[in-house]
């Protein structure tokens, strides 16, 4: 039971990342004229990617087939790399590093992506070490 619950931990972290990037760790507010700052797109991209990542990780936790779980973990790992690179590298953010998007959104996304990636790697390692394959299909 404890193992089962633990397998949902990466998905829970993915959900925290999606919700956190929209609330507590959100990017900069809108400008006085009502338009969004450039970092807003990065925030949206992080939130959407994190929600998709959480969905993949839920499937990974529910799947019983070893090959499916390995594949889903691989996809999740790639998703983590994408989220890590999204704010600042793949998507531009504000000009000054003192802005919220640099001080909160970017580090939050990167720390959470790194933590989820570490859990995915652990899962992959455990799955590859496992001798017997589980039953096929998703419970």
């Amino acid at each position: 039971m404890r193992k089962r619950l633990l397998s949902f931990l990466p998905a829970a972290l993915g959900l925290v990342l999606a919700l956190g990037s929209l609330t507590v760790f959100s990017a900069c507010d809108s400008m006085p004229d009502g338009s969004w700052m450039r970092c807003h797109s990065a925030q949206r991209a992080v939130a959407v990617s994190a929600a998709l990542l959480a969905a993949v990780l839920v499937l990974q936790a529910l799947a019983r087939n070893k090959a499916v779980r390995i594949a889903l973990n691989g996809v999740a790992l790639a998703g983590c790399v994408l989220i890590f690179l999204l704010p600042g590298t793949l998507m531009p953010m504000c000009m000054l590093k003192t802005h919220r998007c640099h001080t909160l959104l970017k580090p939050f996304a990167q720390v959470m992506a790194a933590a989820i990636a570490a859990l995915c790697l652990w899962n992959l390692f455990a799955l590859l070490k496992k001798k017997s394959a589980g039953k096929a299909g998703i419970r």
Partner: protein, 405 residues
């Protein structure tokens, strides 16, 4: 197979809640010790860097700029500003006894960037007389000599977000970014540096766009500030007093006045961090002694069994000490790593909330505080265990085994 070597780890696993409690105190102690040490030493380093970077002993600005520019808080919090005075002040300052060098600077605030609400402070220097900015440029990797329309950006200006390629635009004029200064942990990091000719060209561009509000600005006769270096043997305060007496309509501040705000914030945070570290270290130590004393008391029969099976007192002590060290070091390592991740990731946000600017050292330089926190956690575990172990020595194994029968 169960052996005296594997026993401590099996005990830790077998009594997970107890092990977690011990590790938790080590986690908190190490997190506060490592985090606190890193934070205070980084803030102190930042103060020294700003002091070195400031380069001047005195700064002279127009008195009319006091609403836009407060020298005492300028290094902590400053809005980009433009203000000007007559360049005649420069010659008057140079003529004052005690002044070794004086160099003018020109300031211009950028318009709000299209991407965000950021405005940058542009600081221009006179390459012929400057002694404050040129030394930094020489210490920085640049793409070449600074020429017309070349700029060096402060560490807070995101090179990738602010510029396209190496080009940054101000008032629709392209400037080439040739380098980026290392962080100082002050508002100097949010500025863009250029020579006088570039700044004058940008002021002209600003004027053409109808955004320049300073009608009396004369490209040849206007400056924003004068940076002054005092001759050896002269006190900056005395020279500042002489400048105030000689020049009207200027505001004169010494470097120590400018650094006052930073050093006040530093001592406030250092004091709080030191108190917290001391309290948590003492608490951690007493908790280690208490937890191990209770644990050893509870495990009297277990130790007596080990003794009855032929284990010497020192073997039993080693088992307990290994358990304590393993739990404490694991907790301490996790605490230090967590504190490190939080500080390195959210340092800028924490600094902003604490109103303290700091520049964290490279990870390669953080090993000393890390080792010290682990050592402190290890020491408190060993001392706590040794004190508690004295009890084992005093108890007779046979009596302990008969207890409760």
């Amino acid at each position: 197979m169960l052996s005296i070597k594997t026993l401590p780890l099996r005990n830790l696993r077998g009594y997970a809640a107890r092990s977690a409690a011990v590790a938790l105190f080590a986690f908190l102690t190490a997190a506060v010790l490592f985090g606190g040490t890193l934070l205070t030493s980084s803030a102190r380093n930042s103060l020294h860097t700003v002091q070195a970077r400031l380069g001047a002993d005195i700064m002279v600005t127009p008195e009319s700029a006091k609403n836009d520019f407060d020298a005492q808080t300028a290094l902590i919090k400053a809005e980009p500003a433009s203000f000007y005075m007559d360049a005649a002040a420069l010659e008057q300052i140079r003529a004052i006894d005690g002044v070794e060098r004086a160099s003018p600077q020109l300031f211009l605030a950028s318009a709000k960037a299209g991407c965000c609400s950021a405005r940058l402070q542009m600081i221009a220097f006179d390459p012929e007389t400057d002694f404050t900015i040129r030394p930094w440029i020489e210490d920085t990797d640049t793409l070449g000599e600074m020429g017309l329309m070349d700029v060096v950006i402060g560490s807070n200006v995101s090179w990738t977000s602010a510029s396209q390629g190496d080009v940054i635009r101000f008032y629709d004029s392209d400037c080439r970014v040739i380098g980026q200064f290392a962080a100082t942990g002050s508002t100097l990091d949010s500025a863009v540096y250029m020579n006088f000719d570039t700044c004058k060209a940008l002021i002209q561009a600003c004027r053409e766009k109808g955004l320049f509000k300073y009608g009396d600005f004369d490209g040849e006769r206007s400056i924003s500030s004068v940076m002054v270096r005092v001759k050896k043997g002269y006190a900056a305060e005395e020279v500042a007093k002489a400048i105030r007496a000689r020049l009207d309509g200027v505001s004169v501040v010494t470097a120590s006045d400018m650094l006052l705000g930073l050093s006040e914030n530093l001592s406030r945070v250092s004091g709080a961090a030191r108190t917290l570290m001391l309290v948590l270290c003492l608490l951690g130590f007493f908790m280690a002694v208490t937890v191990f004393a209770l644990m050893i008391n509870e495990r009297q029969r277990e130790f007596a069994t080990l003794r009855a099976m032929g284990a010497s007192k020192s073997m039993v002590a080693r088992v307990v000490l290994t358990e304590a060290m393993a739990a404490n070091l694991a907790g301490a390592l996790a605490g230090a790593v967590t504190a490190g991740v939080v500080l390195y990731a959210f340092g800028a946000f924490i600094g902003e909330k604490l109103n303290v600017r700091f520049v964290l050292p490279d990870l390669s330089q953080a090993w000393l505080p890390l080792m010290l926190s682990l050592l402190a956690a290890g020491l408190s575990a060993s001392l706590g265990t040794l004190i508690a172990l004295k009890r084992i020595g005093r108890t007779d194994a046979a009596c302990a085994l008969k207890e409760g029968e």
